[in-house]
Amino acid sequence: MEKTPLLEVKQAGIQFGGLKAVQNLNLVLYPGELVGLIGPNGAGKTTSFNLLTGVYVPTEGDVVFQGKRINGIAPYKVTQSGMSRTFQNIRLFRDMTVLDNVKVAYHALAKHTMLASILRLPSHFAGEKKMEEDAIEFLKIFRLDRYKDELAKNLPYGQQRRLEIARALAANPKLLLLDEPAAGMNPQETHDLMELIAFIRKKFDLTILLIEHDMNLVMGVCERIYVLDHGQLLAEGPPEVIRNDPKVIEAYLGEEVTE
């Protein structure tokens, strides 16, 4: 591929105390790709996500997004610059309505000031109206609009996952990071989820990095896969290569046999 990468991670790593949770991480994502990040439990997948999104500051190496070095900048700025994420254990705003959950993502896109809101100036009403309309339109895409006034915590599990993805997309990202979106889902829900991912990818012209524990699932949808083990990259390549890589097989088998 000759295009310039959307995301480039160069030799990034992080240490907690003496423990190197992730080291020498090198990732390249080109626009429009759907890439998987897999590995056994505790391999450092979520930690890697946290490095990319600014939750953790890398103690070594660089994270370059859209040509800009972003390590060390706050998570909200990373999100505003076009990278948003979901969480392994759903983090919705549970006591807020479905609509307001999505509106939070629209917050950064709206312009009306706090003073305008406090003084009830016309710009406040215009801004709020637009946010509301946009958010409802957005929920319609995900067929969540009929739940818009429900509290997020009252949605069934599968719909909560859906809402979390919708919320991440409402922030208008170029790169979407999904952290084990299929965790805890039954086969039917997993199937629906994969369709949803394919759909949003096309619809929003997205690049997606997907963490998944379940190898078979990732093999089915991703074009390229990175494999992490013990905080380091073990392998990289298209699914068929990864599937037959002895190191990968050993890492996964090792998990079952020795642990």
């Binding site: 105390g17 979520t46 946290n50 939750v55 969480f87």
Partner: protein, 291 residues
């Protein structure tokens, strides 16, 4: 030799803070609750000791042990009645409850006996000893000895007994401890009993040292002892001892250089600084929230 006297004063006050701080730190370590009522258990300890000496003519040391026994019981009752239901509540709900329990003890006690202070009986008179040319109040020596003995005893309990091992296990991982067959409820009760007994002892020696006790006397030493616990690293037993001593010395020093009105602010300034720059305290390890 003014300086030796000042240091000794500081250590005496500090060891009272340390005794109270131990209860805070043990309870926080085990159930992550800032037990606001702990300062009031200290107050009750002072009054129990006072009544034991004046009404029941007990010897000072007998009164001390008597007070420790009753405060231990009070601590367990507080835990069983108020805090036990809050094990799965938010920490904020637990904190609000603890504030409520604290106020209830203070004003319930005032309601029963009135707010007037009492003068502690002067059991040892004004004896003093001479050390390196400094005249040292016997009471300071007594406070120190009692504190050191109690702290050694605590170390023994925590490290050498079955109860102590259970306490450490529960504070490390409650769920795992439960799976290993440890009776978590009893262990928590034991923690409250030990912590409260130490606060009760602190109350008695506080009364002896400062001679005046009143129903609201626990508020400020309670808060300061909490600061001492945070300073040493909350949840860490030696941390509470060191934190208490440091706080006592700093306060004595601030008074000695002529800022006695600012003495109470010193503790809170230390608190703020430690929370901002090293929230895990002197002996604590950094931990961050899991994402």
């Amino acid at each position: 030799m003014e300086i030796i006297q000042q240091i000794l004063n500081g250590i005496s006050v500090g060891s009272i803070y340390a005794l109270i701080a131990l209860g805070y730190t043990m309870v926080y370590g085990i159930i992550k609750l800032i037990n606001f009522a702990h300062g009031d258990v200290f107050m009750l300890g002072a009054f129990i000791g006072f009544y034991a000496i004046t009404q029941f003519q007990m010897n000072f040391f007998v009164a001390l042990i008597f007070s420790m026994a009753i405060t231990a019981l009070i601590g367990v009752l507080i835990e069983r009645i108020a805090y036990k239901r809050l094990r799965n509540a938010t920490r904020i709900a637990a904190l609000i409850t603890a504030i409520g329990v604290s106020l209830l003890i203070e004003y319930g006690f005032i309601y029963i006996r009135g707010a007037q202070p009492e003068a502690y009986p002067d059991v040892f008179g004004r004896q003093s000893v001479s050390l390196f040319g400094a005249t040292i109040d016997m009471k300071a020596v007594l406070i120190l000895s009692v504190s050191v003995i109690l702290m050694l005893l605590l170390q023994f309990i925590v490290h050498k007994t079955k109860t102590g091992k259970a306490m450490r296990a529960v504070s490390h991982d409650t769920e795992a401890a439960k799976l290993m067959g440890i009776n978590v409820d009893n262990t928590i009760s034991a923690t409250f009993a030990i912590g409260s007994a130490l606060a009760g002892a602190a109350g008695v020696i506080f009364g002896l040292y400062y001679t005046k006790i009143d129903p609201l006397m626990g508020v400020i030493p309670g808060l300061k002892a909490f600061v001492a616990a945070v300073l040493g690293g909350i949840g860490i037993i030696p941390g509470a001892m060191v934190g208490g001593l440091i706080l006592g010395l700093v306060e004595t020093f601030v008074s000695a250089i002529g800022f006695s009105l600012w003495r109470d602010a010193a503790a809170f300034i230390i608190l703020i600084l430690i929370l901002i720059f090293r929230p895990s305290g002197i002996f604590g390890k950094n931990s961050r929230e899991k994402v």
